[in-house]
Subunit: 297 residues, 2 copies
């Protein structure tokens, strides 16, 4: 059924949270490092990347539960990147999702290690024969590979480095697009590709979802930038206007808020149209595209 | 031929350096982040882990060149851990291998990202279908998995966290053993296991090399601790006595230098004996075991 997006997101988020707790269980013997890893992993994320991965599996007619391990790995990678981005040597943020950042609670050394631990744990999961089970090994290998490329120098790491170096520089559209495509777009796109690939999707379906992902990822970042500029601090759980104060390169900074909103809307419209060949099982992805820009008002 | 260890190490080191340069090539378009990654990767390491991986492949009768991608991934993981360990939030070291540490050259933010980038690049390599080629996919997956477990919370990340938390505590043997086994032993052992597994080794051979690796890894750390205590700063390229000054938990601190040296010698003797079933092709591993403690005099 083309259903209720809010109910869908809630139920998927609960499934992801349960699975994350299973893949990185609490354990007294795990010490401070495990506590630090779990602190940020369970600090109330939207679980966007895992949900996109599960929805992509469904969209190609596969079983979302079979790709849950990959969905959880994606959230670990996302969380690692937030912990490291918040460090004093990077963005130096004290709050994230309404709670103190990892290094404010556990200290800088342990926060660096908690990030390293989550990134590594993601790879442990993505290559675990016991978890992969009867999936074709080449699909598991390829999914792990494309997720890691999106996380690395050609993706998130490269984007964050460019972002760091671009602070206080004159903003221009090409740089903003480059940074966003790498920093956010790459992993979101990989979430969809990996979900589709692991669930048995054919190359055309994987490509189509990758193209959807690039548009949705960029729109999502524009929406985030707009919220940072104009949103409600209490609802966001972080300071408003912090990007502006830091001279961060964002779409609103380059295009102005009105045109940035238009760009975002165009991207999500394109993304939704791309899904047409997938029909009914792709309804959550279609509804998600529509929702992204709606939340900026 | 049971050959000349010095010549063997030199030729293998050159092969590894060439391969690293191929797997992470210099590229002007790669920007500062690639420069930072390559700066530490080519700062003159001994390439111990890659060489162990290649030697393990040879020891089980396989082709070392086929596991070179894994050898390079291991060196990237090792280098990432050095960059992060040196950060101000961790050990706060200004020099490593005789040159300024990554964050002294590129700044803290980029150094964190250079570490993240190398760890991720290692995983990109370990799962790259184009590089794995005609190796059996389950061997490639399992090798990636065991390397990542050794890098993560159950290995290096866990060991570094325990090390961080143990500073300025009363040293005791159990804690020292735990820290060393995780921080150094796990990846060294995984280097041998992965090399043997990828080269077609059978389960008994892999287990045997893993046991060799645990002993050699521990002995290697003891030798390092002894050198830090008594060695020559110019030869080491870092300050002497820095572990002691920082109240680091080391074997010499717990057992005294003389007994620590005895422990190390016992470990490498055991390690060499373990190799007997592998015969002639294992000569470099046998010679390496003997060399480890010799360099502490």
């Amino acid at each position: 059924m083309a259903g209720d997006l809010t109910a869908y997101l809630k139920s998927q988020r609960e499934l992801v949270d349960e699975a994350l707790d299973r893949f990185l269980p609490s354990d007294e013997a795990g010490g401070q490092i495990l506590k630090a890893m779990r602190y940020s992993l369970f600090a109330g994320g939207k679980r966007l990347r895992p949900i996109l991965c599960l929805a992509a599996a469904q969209a190609v007619g596969g079983d979302p539960q079979r790709v849950m391990y990959c969905a959880c790995a994606l959230e670990m990678i996302h969380t690692y990147s937030l912990i490291h981005d918040d460090l004093p040597g990077m963005d130096d943020d004290d709050f994230r999702r309404g709670v103190p950042t990892n290094h404010k609670v556990f200290g800088e050394g342990l926060a660096i290690l908690a990030g390293d631990g989550l990134l590594t744990q993601a790879m442990v999961l993505l290559t675990d024969p016991g978890v992969i089970g009867d999936l074709e090994p080449w699909r598991a290998l390829t999914a792990a590979h494309l997720v890691m490329r999106a996380a690395g120098r050609e993706g998130m790491v490269g984007g964050q480095a460019a972002d760091l170096l671009a602070e206080r520089q004159e903003p221009d559209l090409a740089t903003v697009q480059f940074i966003h495509a790498l920093k956010t777009g790459a992993l979101i796109s990989a979430s969809l590709e990996a979900g589709a690939l692991l669930a048995g999707g054919d190359p055309e379906q994987v490509t189509l979802l990758s193209r959807y992902g690039r548009r949705v990822g960029l729109a999502f970042q524009i929406a985030d930038d707009l919220l940072n500029l104009t949103g409600d601090a209490a609802a966001l759980g972080k300071a408003i206007g912090s990007d502006e104060a830091r001279g961060k390169m964002t779409y609103p900074a380059v295009q102005g808020p009105a045109q940035a909103r238009e760009t975002g809307q165009r991207l999500v419209d394109e993304a939704a149209r791309l899904l047409e060949p997938l029909g009914e099982p792709a309804w959550p992805l279609r509804a998600l595209a529509a929702y992204i820009m709606a939340r900026t008002h």
